[in-house]
């Protein structure tokens, strides 16, 4: 299988402290959460504005737990790894594609995603079933071209998968603690103890005018 490329105009990520107990509740056996501090793990929300893909343009929200990457001798070291426990898309075609090809767990209805720029900040608003589920705002810092390798772990039934993903584009990354997330009580957020997710991201990453490229999926041995 060849590489799969998704072009985007904007991809914003907020990284939030939340209890390791919550992270472990979300993660399947065999995946370890990365701890920011002892007892504190990292929940991340990424919202994409995809402009080109095999299934056209669409929006996507990815709710993840940051996990320990898989390191293999002689292979490029990933910047970090994540376990997307819920992905939501604005189109059925995008959802069917990601489930079939990447075994990603999805919210099974179309969601509404709106990006609202304001100065050097960008807000992404996600709604499901006509109700708001999350609003996240992040700000920019300085912009630099990057090409970073990440790992995404997936589970589908008793099978485990790994995707190596390269994120290319202009990147702004900072820890100014100027962003914010508002998570609403909604079945979409049922895996999170919302009151224990710190609403200010300790890190904000904004990428624009770039591409997310998936290498062919790797099936992992699972216990």
């Amino acid at each position: 299988m060849s590489l799969t490329r998704y072009g985007y105009a904007n991809a914003i990520s907020g990284f939030f402290e939340f209890p390791t107990d919550n992270a472990r509740h979300i993660l399947p056996a065999g995946l370890e959460p990365v701890e920011l501090h002892h007892g504190t793990s990292i929940f991340s929300m990424t919202v994409f504005d995809f402009t080109e893909s095999e299934v056209g343009a669409y929006g996507e929200a990815v709710m993840s737990v940051i996990v320990v990457p898989l390191v293999k001798p002689g292979e490029r070291l990933p910047k970090s790894a994540f376990y997307p426990y819920l992905v939501a898309t604005t189109t059925k075609a995008a959802r069917d594609h990601a489930i079939e090809r990447w075994h990603l767990p999805h919210w099974m209805e179309d969601v509404d995603i709106r990006f609202e720029p304001q100065g050097n900040r960008l807000t992404a608003k996600v709604a499901a079933d006509g109700a708001p589920v999350a609003e996240m705002t992040i700000g920019d810092y300085s912009w630099n071209p990057v090409s970073h390798l990440y790992q995404s772990f997936m589970r589908d039934g008793d099978k485990g998968y790994l995707a190596n993903i390269t994120m290319e584009g202009e990147q702004s990354e900072h820890e100014e603690e100027t962003g914010r997330v508002r998570l609403h009580e909604h079945p979409f957020n049922k895996d999170l103890v919302i009151s224990e997710v710190y609403d200010v991201p300790f890190r904000e990453i904004w990428m624009r005018n770039g591409a997310q490229t998936f290498q062919p999926l790797i099936q992992l041995e699972t216990a």
Partner: protein, 427 residues
């Protein structure tokens, strides 16, 4: 030629794309899988600025030091702005003489655990003198400051208890909490409102841990507000005064004394490695507390006791601190001078109000080049960058000492301001 250039660019991107945090976690089937990627990165990182860490000194940590440059190997005479020797005590004649006499009398080491054969008469003397200095009933000694936090916290807290730590807590506090197996909750730095929010509704044994002076930012704990919140929620308070004991307060007892909260704070911890220029840690409190920690402070009694010559030197240093309050006055005069001059030069030192001053570069890509230039112009200091501080909060950390002369400090300001201007960090 072009291929070589491309290869060089690829290698540079390997260095700049990663930092220490990328080499901590790694799953796989061999515990040494991370060694290869780390060493490949470090090979690039070291000549690009990481050589500035652990450059060997071949002199006392006085105001001027001899340092072997980590890149060139050349020994340089530099003005020292990096050592913790806040009162210039470690190399005082009285201290050295006391250590010499002790090594003649006792030999090199204690040769035993403090609860078995490693306690000497001078250990008891030092503990008694430290307790008297801090106006407490008793004190207990630990081999290092790290060991004091790890040993004390894990001696009084257990699984099922909750420890509330400032998000900028020293690693020894975090490791103590891990060893205690208690639930650990981090509150926003120096933020009593967030502490209050996190204490709310928590039952059982609760310990709030703060530091008198935070070592990366040099800011002072907002202790009155922290104490108020902790008391209202029935939490005990531990203050780590590693960077504030012997400096703050009318008698030099620390930040708790500075705020008149000596009695409100339950547990007082300090180190001998900063203001006394030695090594070791201690906890002060009531006799019952000290007896209990003596029984359950594992980091202490599973270590060899402090070396007798060191203890003798610490006792001499403590006498100096007690008898020469003018040293503290000189330190605070130097701190005021540096704060004023940095402000005049437009140099940002954040929220520091202590002898620990972060010169904020706020540019992770430039901080090593800035530090390298500064060292080349005669100053000894280290850059601090992510993950020790948040991304883009990189800085040069300065330790002001009572031993610095005004000329020393002015030289430091001139060099730092000159380099920061050249690099576009300040106007």
């Amino acid at each position: 030629m072009e291929a070589a250039h491309k290869k060089k660019e690829e290698r540079r991107s390997v260095f700049s794309d990663y930092d220490y945090s990328n080499f901590y976690y790694g799953a796989g089937d061999d515990p040494i899988n991370l060694l290869g990627p780390f060493c490949e990165w470090y090979q690039e990182a070291k000549p690009n600025g990481y050589y500035l860490y652990s450059e060997p000194l071949s002199s006392a940590p006085a105001t001027h030091v001899r340092v072997r440059n980590g890149k060139t190997g050349v020994v340089q005479d530099l003005l020292n702005l990096a050592s913790y020797n806040y009162l210039g005590i470690s190399y005082r004649d009285e201290v050295k003489q006391a250590a010499i006499e002790a090594v003649t009398k006792y030999g090199l080491g204690a040769s035993g655990s403090p609860i078995l054969s490693g306690t000497f008469d001078i250990h008891e003397d030092l503990a008694r003198e430290v307790a008297a200095f801090k106006a407490k009933d008793a004190a207990i000694l630990f081999p290092t400051g790290y060991s004091a936090n790890v040993g004390f916290i894990s001696s009084i807290m257990r699984a099922g208890d909750t420890i509330f730590c400032d998000q900028y807590s020293h690693a020894s506090i975090v490791d103590g909490a891990i060893l205690a197996k208690s639930k650990t909750v981090f509150f926003r730095h120096n933020n009593p409102l967030d502490l209050e929010r996190k204490l709310g509704g928590v039952r059982g044994k609760k310990l709030v841990v703060v530091e008198g002076v935070y070592s990366m930012d040099g800011d002072v704990c907002v202790l009155p507000d922290i104490v108020d919140v902790a008391k209202r929620h029935g939490a005990r308070i531990l203050i780590d005064e590693a960077h504030s004991t012997f400096l703050f307060g009318p008698n030099g007892r620390g930040v708790a004394e500075h705020f008149g909260l000596d009695r409100e704070v339950d547990f007082h911890l300090g180190t001998f490695s900063k203001s006394l220029g030695g090594q070791g840690g201690f906890v002060c409190g009531g006799r019952d507390l000290i007896d209990y920690v003596n029984a359950f402070g594992r980091s202490r009694f599973f270590s060899c006791n402090l070396a007798p010559p060191l203890v003798a030197g610490l006792r001499a240093g403590l006498r100096i601190v007690d008898q020469e309050p003018e040293l503290r006055a000189k330190l605070w005069s130097n701190v005021a001078y540096m704060r004023r001059r940095f402000a005049e030069e437009g140099i940002d030192i954040g929220k520091s109000t202590s002898q620990v001053m972060p010169v904020l570069v706020n540019n992770d890509a430039k901080v090593f080049a800035v530090a390298e230039k500064i060292q080349d112009r005669g100053l000894y200091l280290q850059p601090v960058t992510y993950p020790a501080v948040p991304k883009h909060k990189s800085r040069l950390r300065i330790s002001v000492s009572a031993a610095h002369s005004e000329d020393d400090l002015e030289q430091a300001v001139q060099v730092i301001a000159g380099v920061l201007r050249e690099e576009g960090i300040c106007r």
